[in-house]
């Protein structure tokens, strides 16, 4: 069953066309990896799914809810973690999570239960009363992930969620994404770490210059690129036409 449909979405910022007619869909029991070089339009398409950026054309439906028609309804069911999230640094970790949970309408008991549980799971227990300003980048990332999961979303949109996470926390987040997928909560996940995409994504969409360049499972992409048996990195470099890196490396070491 389809959880997300992105249909011919177009978005430009001033003169720059960031997304040029992107379409893909995500099934309920699926983890979709969005891959692409910097500036390929991954973050923009993720923000349009959440309703943070309004597309110039096309449509997006999340769990049957049209984003343009009911943006608040979509925000209630989506869990979103942006790339390098900026949090309210004058709040403590616990105050920030309490704020997010309240805005999502969680009851005090539910808030207490979930926040305590997540803080413990992601090793933030004992630091929750400190101002976010003093947190490391990894701690801020964990906080943003918890905030995205607190309201038990029906779909997760995670823009490079494993950035700055320590190995244990990264493993927990990966296992959590798998577990949620098994429970019918799909994830759209962007990353630059191709091994991660290879390991956890059921399907991969490769974006380049605001377009979908290729789509399929890791195996299907290898066949499309004609590099069966090679790493996803080679497939990615071949498909995006950036495979010839030797000259650059030589220039850098000269």
């Amino acid at each position: 069953m389809e959880a997300l449909r992105v249909d011919n979405v177009v978005k430009s910022f001033g003169g720059l066309m960031a997304v040029k007619g992107v379409s893909f869909s995500v099934e309920r029991n699926q983890i979709l990896g969005l891959l692409g070089p910097n500036g390929s339009g991954k973050s923009t398409i993720m923000k349009t799914i959440v309703g943070i950026v309004k597309p110039d054309g096309g449509s997006i439906t999340v769990q049957g809810v049209n984003v343009a028609a009911d943006p608040i309804g979509v925000k209630r069911i989506v869990g979103f973690v942006p790339e390098s999230p900026r949090l309210y640094e004058f709040l403590s970790g616990i105050e920030y999570l309490d704020f997010v949970a309240t805005v999502h309408g969680l009851s005090p008991d539910t808030k207490r239960e979930r926040i305590t549980e997540f803080l413990k799971a992601l090793d933030l227990e004992g630091r929750e009363n400190e101002l976010i300003h003093g947190y490391s980048q990894g701690m801020k990332q964990k906080l943003a992930i918890i905030a995205g999961l607190l309201h038990r979303p029906q779909i997760l949109i995670l823009d490079e969620p494993l950035n700055a996470l320590d190995p244990r926390s990264a493993r927990i987040v990966k296992d959590l994404i798998h577990r949620l997928r098994d429970d019918g909560v799909p994830t759209v996940f962007s990353t630059h770490v191709l091994e991660i995409a290879d390991a956890i994504c059921d399907r991969i969409v490769i974006m380049y210059d605001g377009r979908v360049l290729a789509e399929g499972s890791a195996g299907e992409l290898r066949s499309k690129a004609g590099t069966t048996g090679s790493s996803l990195e080679e497939v990615f470099l071949k498909l995006t036409g950036t495979s010839d890196t030797r000259e650059i490396v030589e220039a850098l070491t000269r």
């Binding site: 309703g51 943070i52 608040i72 309210y88 309490d98 949970a101 309408g105 005090p108």
Partner: protein, 540 residues
């Protein structure tokens, strides 16, 4: 000390400071390079000096005779004034930095010694504020030339440069010590430390604001000159005493005090480098607000939803905990004290000469409109880059509107009552004035809150930089202008009633209330529409 590194750092720090305060691309292009300061300095120095000289040469002997006894005092006062200004501006710059830009990570992992860092920073600070030096020296150059005191002027200029350098070194010392003290203090004191910092910052801002009032500046300058001679043992007055020595043609005094002034400035520089090496804490300190176990938020205001209450609570925390927001909390104190100072002479007059209702109404309503308008106009932009948290949350525009309007009103209404109480205490006038001004004041608070949110959503500025203003210049001008306009419009029927009939006519009072409520409702609708539009055309 690597002088090339010191120079490079000075250039980078100057660029950072002058570019950090410029909003428009045009200004950044024209004034974005440190070299722009030099022609400005030259223009101020020789432009003002030349103008003064020409004016005095063409004027009669009378003006010169008038200036002759004052000029040496003015010249001697400049070094102290420059040192004071350098310290003041330096401290103000530190206060206005947002929490995100406080880390100086770069200099911590570059191969720079503390001495090189302080050298670069001191030169940068001295250069940036050199326009103040040139302004002061330019003003006194013309009279000095016309009065044949060029030599004293040169002595004053030299001592002013030394004083500027000393002032910049003091800022470095303050920077390093407050960094360490506040880091240790916050670590230990947590929440109370933040409150203490807020109070200290507000007091400092109020003090600085009042210091710029003409009366107090004049009094201070006079006191400095009177005190300088008797306080010869205090190092900060040595540059002034050196100039006085030159003015009195006393070479021993000039050489002695100018030498010790230079030694004092160099000693301050050395101390700043030592303090930097010893006290600087390069990483943000962890501040623990509480040790209690988590209890879900109980803050819930009546008549509004939990989400609105949570947003209001967040904005209060923002106002109290962000040091760059302290200036907004300082506004009511500055306004109330300024009003109080200007009312004292009026209050001593006889009842027959007591100020009119129109005068009191304007004097009372304008600060209310300014404070509440400024607070609500910045309410959206102050979210900064963290505004995505609101965009991504299931919050309706009407909920955000309610939260922002109520936040401004909650602070505005007590200020209105307090200001009116000050008026009642200081002015010897009719009690009924206050009976009508209170509801009108509350209406103005509501109007300014709603209008402010409209302008906040229409012209937001989310950039986090030094002296962030959170709303565009155009938006703030329009917003304050509109808030002032509607406040006057609201009080006009009541003012007419008192002016024409000598009493409050109920029908005209009702018209005033009607205007106030009408403007409030229209402003709410406009603001709601504007927030909807903001949510659809998000700037991220």
């Amino acid at each position: 000390m690597n002088l090339r590194a010191v120079y490079s750092l000075a250039v980078v720090l100057t660029r950072s400071q002058i570019r950090g305060t410029q909003r428009s691309k045009f200004l950044a292009r024209v004034f974005g390079e440190p070299r722009i300061i030099l022609p400005v300095d030259i223009a101020l120095l020789f432009g003002l000096g030349g103008l003064g000289y020409v004016l005095l040469s063409t004027s009669g002997q009378g003006l010169l005779d008038l200036l002759r006894p004052i000029e040496p005092e003015l010249l001697a006062g400049i070094p102290s004034a420059i040192m004071f200004m350098a310290i003041l501006f330096g401290v103000l710059y530190e206060i206005s930095q947002p929490i995100q830009s406080m880390n100086t990570d770069l200099v911590n992992w570059l191969p720079l010694t503390p001495m090189e860092y302080v050298g670069g920073s001191t030169i940068s600070e001295s250069y940036i504020y050199s326009f103040v030096l040139c302004l002061f020296l330019g003003v006194v150059l013309g009279p000095a030339l016309a009065l044949g005191m060029a030599g004293v002027w040169i002595a004053a200029a030299f001592m002013a440069v030394v004083a500027l350098f000393a002032g910049a070194s003091v800022v470095e010392i303050l920077d390093a010590t407050t960094n360490r003290i506040s880091s240790s203090f916050y670590k230990k004191s947590g929440r109370s430390g933040i409150v203490f910092r807020l109070i200290a910052t507000v007091v400092l801002l109020v003090f600085i604001q009042l210091l710029f009032s003409g009366y107090i500046v004049g009094y201070l300058l006079q006191s400095v000159m009177q005190a300088a001679v008797s306080a010869w043992f205090i190092p900060v007055v040595w540059p002034t005493l050196a100039v006085l020595g030159a003015a009195q043609a006393n070479p021993v005094s000039f050489i002695l005090f100018s030498s010790v002034s230079v030694v004092f400035a160099v000693a301050l520089f050395g101390l700043a480098a030592r303090f930097r090496a010893r006290f600087w804490v390069p990483v943000p300190v962890s501040i623990k607000l509480s040790t209690r176990a988590y209890q879900p938020g109980q803050f819930h205001l009546p008549l509004i939803g939990a989400a609105e209450s949570a947003m209001i609570q967040k904005d209060f925390r923002s106002l109290i905990r962000r040091r760059e927001m302290a200036r907004f909390l300082a506004i009511p104190f500055v306004l109330a004290i300024s009003m109080g100072i200007s009312l004292v002479p009026l209050g001593t007059q006889q009842t027959a000469e007591a100020p009119s209702f129109v005068f009191i109404a304007i004097l009372f309503l304008l600060p209310v409109a300014i404070f509440v308008g400024a607070l609500s106009m910045t309410s959206i932009g102050q979210e900064g880059y963290a505004v995505w948290n609101l965009y991504a949350a299931p919050i309706k525009p009407s909920q955000l509107l309610r939260a922002k309007v109520l936040f401004a009103a909650i602070l505005g209404i007590p200020f209105t009552v307090a200001l009116l109480s000050i008026f009642a205490l200081l002015l010897n006038t009719v009690g009924t004035y206050y009976g009508i001004l209170l509801p009108v004041g509350v209406l103005v608070v509501l109007e300014a809150s709603a209008l402010g949110v409209y302008f906040a959503a229409r012209f937001p500025d989310f950039r986090e930089m030094v002296r962030s203003r959170y709303v565009s210049v155009w938006g703030s001008l329009l917003g304050i202008g509109t808030a002032l306009g509607v406040s006057l419009l609201t009080v006009t029927p009541v003012a007419l009633s008192i002016s024409l009939y000598g009493a409050i006519i109920p029908q005209l009072a009702i018209v005033s209330f009607g205007i106030g409520l009408g403007v409030f409702i229209v402003a709410l609708k406009l603001a709601n529409h504007q927030i909807q539009s903001l949510f659809q055309n998000i700037q991220t």
